[in-house]
Symmetry: C3
């Protein structure tokens, strides 16, 4: 659990950075950028905990989350030019965050005693909703709805975790395998530009 | 209650279909379209249950909702061209969904013991919020805010339900009368193009 | 508390008016305008209470809130031309609302027993989220993210309240001092056009 906790903090930091940077293309001030960083980092866990009636909400249990998000936002603000050159590193950390958030979401849901179907959904919610809120506040159609299929990767990862859990895989091993699988899958998806089919009514232009 | 339950499932299916189809005008991929179908179908009930502190949230009590929504989304994806030609049928089912969601919302709120004013509001929330979230995620101003007055129909329907309830109308009869009234009212509204006045500051262009 | 309660009602009224008027630039009908007025007035308190698991949600404890919001929306609809000429008065009441909502938010959070950091955040959430939802529903990037720094004023006001509370300042005095400070600070901010720095990646155009 200790490693998962550390990865959770890293994921939170990276989500805060990416959220804050997303404000750079819009004319947001520092405060707006920090808020969007904040919402990106905690949005998924917050919606998950509200749906599952878990209180206190994840990030309100330990002030370290607020500190880390603030640190991420300020880091993004100070080193934005430099961060941009680190896209690959950022992408890797972002992907780690996605994997960890998914596993944590599934675990929280299982602990709350819901049906496995909801556990898988909550894994995806944990990892996806932050970005959806980020894009909605930035007045964009959520990126995840248009291009990347990482939500599908999260669903598959959550299902894998459940499957391994059913076979009584030790929790620690299950966490490692699932997170690694999600990371690998996402990298492959990006590398080979895999896309979901588009829903278009006027198909002639397809 | 049995009929209401069946109608609830039909309403959920139709809302999922309409939500998924709404993604057709945007460049959403299959996943994005399914998510929007999902949110359209469960959004109203989710917000209602969160506000009333009812847990588990409606659609998390029974996995049939997830199955039906998925079925609706896939149905929309496969038969989109054909569904479009069925606008009238879709509209009818949509209207049934609106009537049923309103009645269920009022009932849930009354069971939660809130003041009748909130019960009427919760009836409207159940039936309207899904579409508002759909449009917000699609980056549109919610349709309901601009054109159609079905929310007003929901409010009136909710008030009617309360009134009949006060006169100790049997619940079953009350459900039938209210749902039928909402359906009739909405059809009349569309048919005669009834609109609410618009709030415009610069009235010269009106 | 009595004065705070009256100011809370005034703040609710003014937020409802401003939310309803915001719909004037969009082509919203009366219903849409009222809903946006409603969401503007109760959005902050609702999100705060959901996050803190406080039930019933603020505005559902006393029907006077619904009445006042409705009155505000109708007032805005009837007297929109006249209200526009009263920008200064509206601004003053709006600022009073912001101060009062912040203090009430901090108090509610402290009563819920959360860490002071969250109390300050909840003060800001109470006062800011309504406007964010208003702008999101209107399909704008939230104003507060771009121009005005009133959220920062709320954070500072919340921190001041906490500080005075630590020194065992009588609650009544603390309320008066904090609200007055927030009002003064916001007026100064507007007057001297103080702004937060903007986060922009391509800085040459700055």
């Amino acid at each position: 659990v200790n490693i998962l906790y550390s990865l959770d903090l890293i994921g939170t930091f990276v989500f805060a950075v990416s959220g804050t940077l997303s404000a750079a293309n819009k004319k947001l001030d520092l405060f707006g950028a920090i808020v969007i960083g904040f919402v990106t980092a905690v949005g998924g866990g917050t919606v998950r905990d509200l749906l599952l009636d878990i209180h206190p909400i994840g990030w309100m249990k330990d002030t370290i989350y607020v500190s880390i998000i603030l640190a991420g936002a300020i880091f993004a603000f100070l080193f934005k030019q430099w961060i941009i050159t680190l896209r690959r590193t950022m992408f890797l950390f972002d992907t780690i965050g996605i994997g960890v958030f998914t596993v944590l979401g599934v675990q929280k849901a299982l602990n709350a005693g819901v049906h496995p179907v909801y556990a898988v959904l909550m894994g995806m919610v944990s990892s996806v909703v932050g970005g959806v809120l980020r894009d909605t506040l930035n007045n964009d159609i959520p990126l995840i709805f248009r291009k990347e299929i990482y939500a599908t990767v999260c669903l598959a990862g959550g299902a894998l975790y459940l499957l391994l859990d059913t076979f009584e895989t030790p929790q620690y091993l299950n966490e490692v395998v699932t997170v690694m699988t999600i990371i690998t899958a996402r990298i492959l998806v990006i590398r080979y530009k895999l896309n979901m089919p588009t829903l278009s009514i006027n198909e002639s232009s397809n």
